[in-house]
């Protein structure tokens, strides 16, 4: 197991290096002199000179990358020109909001997706199965920003039950916090529920046709016991690990959801940065999300091996 861990961790190093090169390379897409572009509309010569020196623009590209990655490894993701703050500080400030939203969304996705997948597999080729598949297809095809707008229209504008936008910290007012997050979390969890439903369905179908389930039925166990105690436990292993890989969907979705519901999180940070031409923030956010995704992937892989002793580590 230890050797597997070391090998698995070693394998992500080249990926991380390539990710950093890719994100550093984004700067090269800027038309013209990066220092002038990054200095904003004012193009203040002092700022341009400062940026030129800070970004080592007179040096060759590989040297600039080494300077940049050294800073990143020391936790320096650059500085937001618009907000006059280190990017790292901005990310850490906004991250808890997005984490809460993402966690809430994941709970909703699990609560909808897993039972729907079980039902669909157990009642295969019945109206329940077709309905569950239709709901999953609906989840995969609905643009979440539109769903958000429609929910606001129904629950905020028409019924007046929930706030249309904004965010309240759970430490200030938990009830207001939940009221503000329930719609965005549902919107965000909706697409992931569809993916989880499909994973659960196919895992359950596989498990339900296995020998040990047939044995459990032959022993005279109730169908409910067979499904919940025997089949589901094993079917959930790939579902949970595959669910962890949905982090990318969650973060991408958060960008739009936070924009629709005006939630001051990570997604709104990158969108605002794009419009403020605050490129260091854009780079910092992409680098952070990619690293988080790689690390979570690693944890999911490890969890998969830990919870499933059948997998022989090669």
């Amino acid at each position: 197991m230890f050797a597997y861990l070391v090998r698995r961790i070693a394998a992500i190093v080249p990926t991380l290096i390539f990710v950093s090169m890719l994100i550093f390379g984004l700067q090269q897409l800027l038309p013209g002199d990066p220092a002038v572009v990054l200095a904003g509309e004012d193009r203040d010569p002092t700022v341009v000179a400062y940026l030129r020196q800070k970004m080592h623009l007179d040096e060759p590209l590989p040297v600039r990358y080494v300077y940049w990655i050294k800073g990143v490894l020391h936790g320096d993701l650059g500085e937001s020109l618009r907000m006059q703050k280190p990017v790292r500080e901005l990310i850490l400030e906004k991250l808890p909001v997005t984490i809460e939203l993402a966690a809430f969304a994941m709970v909703i996705a699990l609560l909808i997706g897993v039972p729907m997948g079980i039902l669909s597999a157990v009642k295969r080729n019945t109206a329940w199965d077709y309905a569950a598949n239709a709901v999953a297809l609906w989840g995969l095809s609905t643009p979440n920003f539109w769903l958000g707008i429609m929910l606001i229209l129904l629950f905020s504008v028409t019924l007046g039950w929930l706030p249309a936008s904004g965010f309240v910290s759970p430490f200030e007012d938990l009830q207001a916090n939940l009221a503000a997050l329930v719609m965005p979390a549902f919107v965000l969890g909706n697409a992931i529920a569809a993916v989880l439903m499909r994973h659960t369905r196919s895992a359950m179908l596989q498990v339900l046709s296995s020998d040990y389930v047939r044995t459990a039925r032959a022993k005279g166990l109730s169908e409910r016991g067979v499904i919940l105690k025997h089949a589901l436990r094993n079917a959930l292993i790939p579902v949970i690990t595959l669910g962890a890989l949905e982090l990318g969907t969650l973060l991408s979705g958060a960008v739009l959801t936070e924009q629709v519901f005006t939630i001051p999180g990570f997604g709104k940070l990158i969108v605002d940065a794009v419009f403020n031409r605050d490129y260091a923030v854009v780079q910092g956010v992409v680098l952070f999300t990619a690293t988080a995704y790689i690390v979570l992937n690693l944890l999911a892989d490890i969890a998969y091996v830990v919870v499933n002793p059948q997998i022989k580590v090669q």
Partner: protein, 294 residues
């Protein structure tokens, strides 16, 4: 020397059906997929005939018709500066379809050759390409597309490039995986044994066998690209105003939900219907082209 296949007499009572038309028939037998094909055909026709079928100029403003509810004159109502929503939805179909198809073509044209190279060459080439692919896949699709669109500058063309490039790794992985499986087949080994050069084996023997999986993925990629284009336009990074796009229409509409909800309903419904149709066709194609998948 074995007889040529075409020299053999065809059985009299069995109509000769090519695998492709057989798969197409299987696709159309699935009601969901058939419905998807019909809807896509309608949307494509409407988009092509937009100048003829749109009742109004999509850019024409009318100060006397600001935020008018749906009526006989304006079936989908009007927007905040009196433009006809139906006409804008019809013209917006062009941006969505164009973005979906062009982005998928960009992904295919970059991803397939690279995936073929990685899978066929193997060794260090494969390792390098796979690590690079992992790196791009590590960046969440939409976040990468937003970053690319931000650095390239906001426009529909740049949005299509950003979406196409961001979706490329999926095609690299798919082509690589399929190539690895196919290159171990007997017919490929035979082609190699008779002295075919590697490029010929890859293009003539391997690639045609990857195509079915690529068609399925491309259909699903168009669906994802339509949503991605709408998302980027919603954020202001895609089609620029006043040109109509479903995403940018929704962006404006969210400011007028209190008094003009129709502005948000129709463009969103259009995205949903188009994406659903592509997903239905994608699922249907997967089942039709791979009989093991049920």
């Amino acid at each position: 020397m074995p007889p040529r296949e075409d020299a053999l007499p065809a059985p009299l009572d069995t109509p000769r059906v090519s695998p492709r038309s057989h798969a197409f028939r299987r696709l159309l037998r699935r009601s969901g997929a058939a419905l998807g094909v019909v809807v896509i055909a309608i949307v494509v026709t409407v988009a092509i005939l937009a100048p003829v079928v749109a009742p109004y100029d999509p850019l024409a403003t009318s100060w006397s018709a600001i935020r008018k509810a749906p009526s006989a004159a304006h079936w989908f109502g009007t927007d905040e500066i009196g433009r006809d929503v139906l006409s804008r939805v019809i013209w917006g179909a062009r941006a969505s379809l164009l973005a979906g198809v062009v982005a998928a073509l960009i992904s295919l044209s970059i991803g397939v050759p690279i995936g073929l190279l990685a899978g066929y060459a193997g060794g260090k080439t494969d390792m390098l390409i796979s690590r690079l692919t992992d790196a791009v896949l590590a960046c969440p699709f939409l976040i990468l597309a937003i970053a690319l669109a931000a650095f390239l500058g906001p426009s529909l063309t740049n949005a299509m490039i950003a979406i196409g490039v961001s979706a490329t790794p999926v095609f690299i992985r798919l082509t690589r995986g399929q190539t690895l499986a196919i290159k171990a087949e007997d017919f490929v080994l035979a082609a190699r044994a008779i002295g075919n050069p590697p490029w010929r084996i890859a293009l003539v023997h391997v690639l045609p066998n990857v195509v079915p999986a690529l068609i399925v993925q491309a259909t699903l990629a168009i669906a994802a690209a339509v949503i991605a284009e709408a998302s980027l336009s919603f954020l202001g990074l895609g089609q620029q105003p006043p040109a109509p796009s479903w995403g940018s229409m929704l962006n404006t509409a969210k400011n007028y939900m209190d008094n003009a909800p129709w502005m948000a309903i129709w463009p969103g419904l259009s995205i949903f219907v188009l994406v659903l149709s592509f997903n239905l066709v994608g699922d249907g194609l997967r089942d039709a082209l791979d009989p093991r998948h049920t």
